[in-house]
Amino acid sequence: MTFSVLAGLKKFNLEHHFEVKNIYEYYAKWIREGKLKVNSDWNKDLKIKFTVQDPCQIVRKSYGDPIAEDLRFVVKSVVGEENFIDMTPNRSNNYCCGGGGGFLQSGFKEQRLEYGRLKDQQIKATGADYCIAGCHNCHAQIHELSEHYGSGYPVVHLWTLICLSLGVLGPNEREYLGDDLKEVNVFHPETAM
């Protein structure tokens, strides 16, 4: 979306009176300003490791390495610096997961999974327990890669972990967390459905 709006505004010369931004930049800003009081203590003893996918549309295609740094700052703030493992290559040089460009809807499933083999290997090489995906296409694709290649790492949205680290993640907002985190730091556990 970031890219389609940014590129669309330019390509079709659309009049607009606003700036187009991505929320990673603001997550980082709000944490730095103390507005989001995130805390990685929940993971101090658990030591669950996380890696992060750089969404092409947001990093390489739109805002470059500075937003990749913001993304990492946010991730480290919520899971603990020592529990973050970067994949290689990373930031603007990272590989696409294969969920973008409409590939998920194109019908070429076999080729899409083959495309994603590289991403799956990259994630496994980090040894991380989880992959964080900040974009829906990445999330859907990497989730499928983890199952298809039998890798078994859960794939989570960034907002899930931010709320977990804020202590406000309820029992029904944990769809994508693995069993190791389903019961950790649960907000209003009595509301479980």
Partner: protein, 243 residues
């Protein structure tokens, strides 16, 4: 397709590549290829359908337009731009791919992408799942009320639609309101705790744009225009994408 000898005609016709060069700034540098292969060696789509980015560009340079139009590879390249990133000449292969997608009649492009684009054109939501603005408003209101009650710390949390003069205009991937509404809540909580003044739009709230992936320029423009018009009308300062 690599088994047969490629024969080149004596005279070069105006080709697909010439056309693409005309529409790109600096011609997309399409004729600057050093054939080094940096693009292909770092491309996850290399090898799919017997193709890779360098080969694709060479085929275009050689005027093999028919083969390009027939190839499914442009739908297996995600236009992720890593090839440009590593290219010493910054050649815009993804734009070549984008335009190659457009060589087929619209109705012959992959049905899934076509369907998602058509869904987004159905109403003002711009949602690839075709969800109406009314249904979206209903789900948002319903989920918000449920959480305000169940988690009293968030009793005054908001999820406004069409709030005039809000600072941020937010979009929402349709997957949440349609298939997993609880997943909208963590984002609302973050915005609430950070004290952010934000709004969705009843028009253009959908955070997807499959029309761009379909290489359907008119529809891409229509979708973007719908969401941009709404953000303009609400007078927001920042159009904030969650992805």
């Amino acid at each position: 397709m690599t088994d047969r000898v490629v024969k080149l005609g004596g005279k070069k016709n105006s080709t697909f590549m010439d056309k693409v060069k005309k529409i790109l700034p600096e011609g997309g540098n399409l004729n600057l290829c050093l054939t080094c292969g940096a693009c292909s060696s770092g491309c996850p789509a290399t090898g799919l359908d017997g193709m890779d980015p360098r080969k694709f560009l060479r085929m275009a340079a050689l005027g093999m337009d028919e083969e390009i139009a027939k190839s499914d590879w442009p739908w297996m390249c995600t236009m992720c731009q890593r090839c440009i990133y590593v290219c010493p000449m910054k050649i815009d292969i993804p734009q070549l791919v984008y335009n190659a997608r457009g060589l087929r009649p619209r109705e012959e492009r992959p049905r899934g992408i076509l369907g998602s684009c058509d869904m987004a054109l159905r109403n003002k939501s711009t949602s690839a799942m075709g969800t109406s603005p009314e249904d979206f408003a209903f789900v948002v209101g319903d989920v918000l009320e449920e959480y305000r009650e169940a988690q009293p710390e968030f009793a005054d949390m908001e999820a406004p639609i069409d709030k005039q003069g809000a600072e941020f205009f937010l979009n929402q991937n349709s997957r949440e309101p349609v298939t997993e509404p609880d997943e909208m809540v963590p984002l609302w909580k973050i915005l609430h705790l950070a004290g952010v003044d934000w709004t969705y739009g009843s028009s253009g709230w959908g955070g997807e744009n499959y029309c761009m992936f379909l290489a359907d320029n008119d529809s891409w423009e229509q979708i973007t225009r719908t969401t941009v018009d709404q953000a303009n009308q609400l007078g927001v300062k920042t159009f904030l994408n969650t992805e």
